[in-house]
Structures are given as C-alpha cells and as structure tokens.
C-alpha cells in the first residue's frame, strides 16, 4: 500500500500551477496598450456584411484597382458579430485598418474619441459627393465635421410577409397606416390563421428604431443633441410598453420566448420562422437579400394617428465609409469612397447591398436591373424620403447617437423582455430603465 496516492507535494504543485496558469491567462487577456499606425504597405479595408455584400465589395474594388493599379488593397470582412470588438482591439494594438465600413450608431462615439479622421478638406476635390442630400450627410456628421460617407438612404421600414397575408385573405395595409391599424390587422392574422400566426414580432424592445419613430411622433428624440441624456419622457416609454403588453395579451405579438430566441439570431426571427407576418428587424431583408422564401414587401413604421400625424420617420445614411486617424493612406481611402459612391460600375456592382443608393443618379443606374422585391424596397424608401422632406412638422434628423447607444438598445430589449416574462411591472421597469440609462450615458 505504500506506493499509491501519497504524492502530496506533487498534487499541491500540480494543482497550484494549474490554478496559477489558468488565472494568469484570464488576467493577462485583459491587458492592453495603445499604439498607432498600420503595419502593411497595402491599404487595409474592412467591412461587415453578408456573402452577397462581400462579393459586391470585392467586385467594386477590383474595378477600382483596374483604374488605380498603384493602390493595393488588403480586404478583410466578416459578419457583424465581433466586427467592432476586433476593430477596438486593432485600434488599441496599433493595427487599425485604413478604411472601414462604419455603423451609423457608432460613428459619433469613434469620431469623438479621435479614432476617425474628418473628411471635409477632401469634399469637392477627391471626394465627390454630388447628389448627396444634406439630411443624408447628417448621418456621417459629428459636431459639424464629416466623418463618414453614407452608403444610401436608410429608412426604418417594417418588413412584411406579403404572400402570407394573401394566403389568409387579408389585404395589404395602406402606407398611411397607424399603430391601431397594426393592432387590428395583427388580431385578424391571429384569428384567421387559427391561432398559429401572430401579427407582428414584439417591437417593445426589438429595435431601437421603432421606438425612436414612436418618440419622434411625440416630438421627442432618443437622446438630447449633446448625447448626455435621454431625449424622451417616461410617459412616452410607458405608453410604448403598454401598447406592446396589450399586443402580447391579445396574441397580436408572439410570446416572449420567441422574441428572446431571435435576439442576435436572424434565423429565429418570427417572420423567418413563419410565426408572424411583420417584423421591425430589417435584417430579414437586409443587405439586399432575404432569408425567407416568403414574398416580402415593405411598409413605413405606423403613425400615431394618420390624419394630421406628426412625422416620426427620417432618412438615415445606411452604413458609412470612414477613414481612421492613424492611417497614412487617407488620400487613397478617400479615392475609394468617392469611387464607390459615384462610379457607374461600382454602383452596379453594389446594387442594394449597402441599402438604397444615396443619389438620384445612382438609383436610376440600377433601377432597371432590380428584382421585384428590391424594387418594392426602393419604392417604399423613395416614398418615405419624399414624405419626410414634405413633412412640415417633423423634427430635424437626429444627431448621430452617443457612446453607449447600443447599451441603451440592449437595456430597452432586456426591459421589454423582463416585462413580457412577467418578472417586472411596467412601472418598476420604467424606473430601472431611466436609472440605468443615466448611468450608461454618463459613464
């Protein structure tokens, strides 16, 4: 019996080492440093998107390189997941890309932190922005300077399963519709489908845009212009959550588990699964492609009350192209931005992969080549951008969202879910939401 398990010290050492090693790796993963400058001799460009968008970018860039053989481009691309995590790490490690696709929701944050370089001095020279409207350029403008070239008119739309609606014998709603219309139609869908299909996926926290338009209809914005505070009142958010609580109660919107499963996972979206016919998630027909077999159509976000409604919609810039401040190739990056925005070949290569093209000219270049769904998509966007410009009582286009906006969105999502799962009352959650939001915006 003398030789078996008695190696006390061995255990101690082995255990201790394993523990120390394990901990060390956890801690050292959390260190960082700042540096600057890109290391490659090639111009590095990065974007996120679908496979179709990757192919479109690559084609457009190939066309660019034919005309500018001296500018070599190193292309890196991925899905949205982790894209900005990687970008942050690259910036911190001094290997930031020269040119990148930027999220409208984050541009202000990066511009204010001095990560992006202002483009104003190139506009009208190597950066041709002919045909871009002022409202559109606002999407890339932070504190009066242009930090990103918008890719197109982004309009907050509802994606609708048109064929599903027809199958139930229901008529497609009018573009001038209200939140009450959405509720009635959703109830009809649930009844006519024998309780199998809900009307619309839960918008109570699903997307910040839907609530934003709701708030703007009440003359309020998501954030104050300086980005330090929330721009809407608790009453507005309460009305919003009450609307969606009602929607869930009458089965117009699906159960919280369905909403929760779709968080960050488009394939679980209620419209994609056939559990609802309307969704606020533009990803279902994002980047010019669909992930469902249903025939899709598009609708503006409903209004509070159509006759004399206050316009809540606005035109945003799709995605942006920005150059980093640390880059030594800003002039070359600007050439690429200009080429993608204005060159006919590039416009045709891109089609709707980055949203509805920003200029009339670009839209007419691709109009003939669009498939039916793309055409409907562009029609609604066109209609909406005209409606927005005509509206006399609309708010100005909101300033680019401040740092922490994505956390606020997450908070809205989680709050709505907590209410939906019955973990919190609307009143209690309202207090928590405003407390936590204040913390996020002042951090």
């Amino acid at each position: 019996m003398g030789h078996q398990i008695s190696r006390r010290t061995l255990f101690r050492t082995a255990g201790g080492l394993a523990a120390a090693g394990a901990l060390g790796s956890a801690l050292s993963a959390c260190a960082g440093g700042t540096g600057a400058g890109s290391t490659s001799s090639k111009l590095t460009m990065t974007w996120w998107g679908s496979d179709e968008r990757h192919a479109a970018y690559k084609k457009a860039l190939a066309a660019f390189q034919e005309k500018n053989p001296k500018i070599e481009i190193l292309e890196t691309y991925s899905g949205y997941d982790g894209y900005f995590d990687k970008f942050n790490t690259n910036i911190a490690g001094g290997s930031a890309p020269d040119l990148l696709q930027m999220d409208r929701a984050l541009v202000a944050q990066y511009a204010r932190k001095g990560v992006l370089t202002p483009l104003d001095s190139y506009v009208g020279k190597s950066l041709d922005l002919t045909g871009f409207s002022k409202e559109l350029l606002a999407a890339g403008t932070v504190d009066g300077k242009l930090y990103g070239v918008p890719s197109g008119i982004g309009i907050s739309q509802l994606t609708a399963n048109r064929s599903g609606l027809e199958k139930l014998g229901l008529t497609f709603p009018d573009r001038e519709w209200t939140w009450a219309d959405l509720k009635n139609l959703s109830v009809d869908i649930h009844k006519k489908s024998g309780g199998k299909i809900h009307g619309v996926d839960d918008g109570g926290g699903g997307t910040l845009n839907a609530f934003e338009i709701f708030a703007r209809e009440h003359g309020q914005d998501l954030f104050t212009t300086d980005g330090k505070k929330l721009g809407f009142t608790p009453e507005t958010l309460q009305a919003w959550w009450e609307y969606w609580a009602e929607m869930r109660k009458i089965n117009a919107a699906p159960a919280p588990a369905v909403t929760s499963a779709a968080h960050n996972d488009l394939t679980k979206n209620a419209v994609v699964l056939g559990k609802a016919l309307f969704t606020f998630d533009s990803g279902v027909y994002g980047a010019g492609g669909s992930i469902t077999d249903a025939t899709l159509d598009f609708l503006p976000t409903p209004q509070g009350d159509w006759s004399g409604a206050r316009e809540g919609n606005y035109v945003n810039g799709g995605v942006l192209l920005s150059a980093t401040k640390a880059s030594k190739r800003v002039a070359d990056s600007v050439k690429i931005m200009s080429f993608i925005a204005q060159d006919q070949t590039a416009i045709k290569d891109m089609m709707l992969q980055r949203g509805i093209p920003p200029t009339e000219k670009a839209r007419s270049v691709i109009a003939g080549a669009l498939d039916a769904t793309d055409k409907r998509n562009m029609d609604v966007a066109d209609y909406l951008s005209k409606r927005v410009t005509k509206a006399t009582n609309d708010l100005p286009t909101p300033a680019a969202p401040p740092q922490g906006a994505d956390q606020i969105w997450n908070l809205l999502f989680q709050s709505n879910l907590a209410i939906a799962f019955g973990k919190k009352s609307i009143k209690a959650q309202l207090g928590e939401f405003f407390d936590q939001a204040a913390g996020i915006l002042s951090a």
Partner: protein, 325 residues
C-alpha cells in the same frame, strides 16, 4: 565571475606547465565551471520560457492591475480614477450582481454533478471488459470537444424551441418549451453542457482507481463487505486526494467558463442576463462597451474570488482528504 574563480584555483596549483598538463587543467576547469552552474548557457536555453513568463503573463497581469484603477476605453490613453471601478461594481452596476448570481449558480450546480458523474462512469469503466478502451474513448470524447464552438452551437439547436430535446419529450407526450430563451431554464442548459463534458475528471478518477490496492478489497470481501460498503469505506477514502484535485480544478474552470455562455446565448448573456456568466460580462465590458479599466477590475475580483475558493478548499482538505503518508 565563475571563470575568474576557477583561474584563482588554477593559479594555486603548483604543477609544472607541460602541454598535456595544460590540457588536463583546461578540462578540469571546464568541468568545474559546469558543476558551479555553467555560466550563462542554461539561461539562454531558459530564455524563451522567461520571455513567455514575463512578457505574456507577469507583465500583462501587472498592466491589468494598473488598468483596473483607470478609465481606459482602448482608444484613448488611460485616466487614473482610483478605486472608482471597484466601487461602481459593488454599488452601482445591477448587471454585475446578475452575473455573480448566474456564475455562482453555475459553479455550485455543475461542479458536484459533473464530478459525481465522472466518478460513477470511471467506476463502470474500471474493469477488464472486451473493447473497454473503446468505451473509455467514447465517454472521453465530449471533453475533447471541450470548449469547441461547434458543440455550443449544437446545444443551441438541441434545446431550442423546435430542437431535438423537445422532440424527445414529445415521445412521452410532454410539450416542451424553448429552454434556451426562457430566463428560468437557460442556465441549466449550460450546466447540462458542462456536466456532459465530464471526461477529463473521469480519466483522472480512472487513473486513481487503477492504483487502489486489490488486496484491501479482497480482504474486505472475505469479511463480508458489500459493494456499497466497499465504495464508502475503501474506494472513496483512498480516492480523496484525487477527488480534491478534481474539485479544485473544476471549480477554477467553472468560474472561468466563457465559450458556451457566449455561443449558446449568441453573445447576449440573455435572456435577462440569466446566462451572463462573469467572464462573458467581463469580455463584453472590455471589448464591446470599451470599458477596459472596468473589465480589468472585474478580472482582479475574479482572481481574488478564485484564489479565495482555492484557499478554502486547501484548508478544508485537511479534514477530509486522506493521504497515505
């Protein structure tokens, strides 16, 4: 320095300097030098390890300790803020407490279950059957896949609303639910995943079982001890050092769990932060919310908590772990 000393020794030797003597002396000198530590050569060979230890472990650890007292957004230089991060963690961040709750639940439930299963299966596999190697490999397999993203993705599919698990329940007429997107059950799918990957402690248990002395069992059997008595009176006591080793390692591992939580919840830690394990929140704070200072502070709190748990384990082990010496 070593060479200088050897020279002195050499000088003190009053031998005539014939060429062969000289050669002999050189050889002696070299041998001596080797015995005294060999100069700097060993350090050259150790250098890569030192570079790794200081460059990749100690320096980053100290750096992260420094950063934990700063506001650092990765993009602009760090600003010293004293203990603000630590204060915020304990007083002003409700999500932090959500993650503490989720993590403690995860550790407390998954570790004992995993170890019990590992020991049980190890005992089943500790016999001379035909093809036993194959069985052992089959049970170990899930652990090889350990942190793999693919397994976590499969998990998401299996326990989703229209997943395999609900199909399985359907055979018995039970209507399932979406286990992963309900805040009451999501964490248990992660626990189940952890328990399923019991292979590593199982192999260690198996190695321990193999070393247990047969004569003791034979003696016990002759005295009429049944299998249950044999397990509790012989196997378990003799095995306590192995149990201890596994407990310590599994607790540390469980505290650091990241990948399954990240993948199964799609990086959200949802629903309602129910799967927001500590490491996942730490990662989100550092790399997504650009609060690396706060994330570093969280890392150090985790370090202290794990160190605390490990210390308590070692102290408690005095009362239940039986060594043979």
């Amino acid at each position: 320095m070593t060479t200088a000393k050897t020279d002195e020794v050499a000088k003190g030797t009053p031998a005539p300097a014939t060429p062969s003597d000289q050669r002999e002396r050189d050889r002696m000198r070299r041998r001596l030098a080797r015995r005294r530590g060999g100069g700097w050569w060993p350090y050259v060979f150790l250098a890569p390890w030192f570079v790794g230890l200081f460059g990749l472990t100690i320096y980053p650890m100290l750096d992260s300790l420094y950063l934990s007292f700063t506001d650092f957004d990765l993009l602009t230089p760090a600003q010293w803020v004293g203990t603000k991060n630590y204060e915020r963690m304990f007083t002003a961040d409700p999500v932090f407490w959500d993650t503490v709750h989720a993590t403690l639940l995860y550790v407390a439930v998954s570790v004992p279950l995993k170890l019990a299963l590992a020991l049980g299966v190890a005992m089943l596999l500790n016999r001379d059957l035909k093809g036993i190697g194959l069985y052992r490999a089959a049970f170990y397999l899930p652990s090889l896949l350990g942190g793999a993203v693919a397994v976590a993705i499969v998990w998401r599919q299996v326990f989703g609303g229209d997943g395999l698990f609900n199909d399985f329940l359907g055979w018995f007429g039970i209507e399932g639910q979406d286990w992963i997107s309900s805040p009451d059950t999501a964490i248990y799918t992660l626990i189940l995943l952890a328990v399923w990957q019991f292979g590593t402690p199982m192999v260690i248990f198996l190695a321990g079982l193999k070393q247990l002395p047969r004569d003791v069992y034979e003696a016990a059997e002759i005295d009429g001890a049944g299998p249950v008595t044999r397990f509790f009176r012989i196997t378990l006591p003799l095995l306590t050092p192995i149990v201890f080793f596994n407990v310590v390692l599994q607790i540390i591992d469980a505290f650091k769990t990241f990948t399954p939580a990240f993948v199964v919840s799609n990086g959200t830690g949802g629903p309602l932060n129910s799967t927001m394990l500590y490491s996942l929140y730490l990662y989100k704070k550092g790399f997504a919310d650009l609060q690396m200072g706060y994330a570093s502070a969280m890392a150090w709190v985790l370090f202290l908590v794990i160190a605390g748990f490990t210390a308590v384990n070692f102290i408690a082990s005095r009362y239940w772990v039986h060594y043979d010496d």
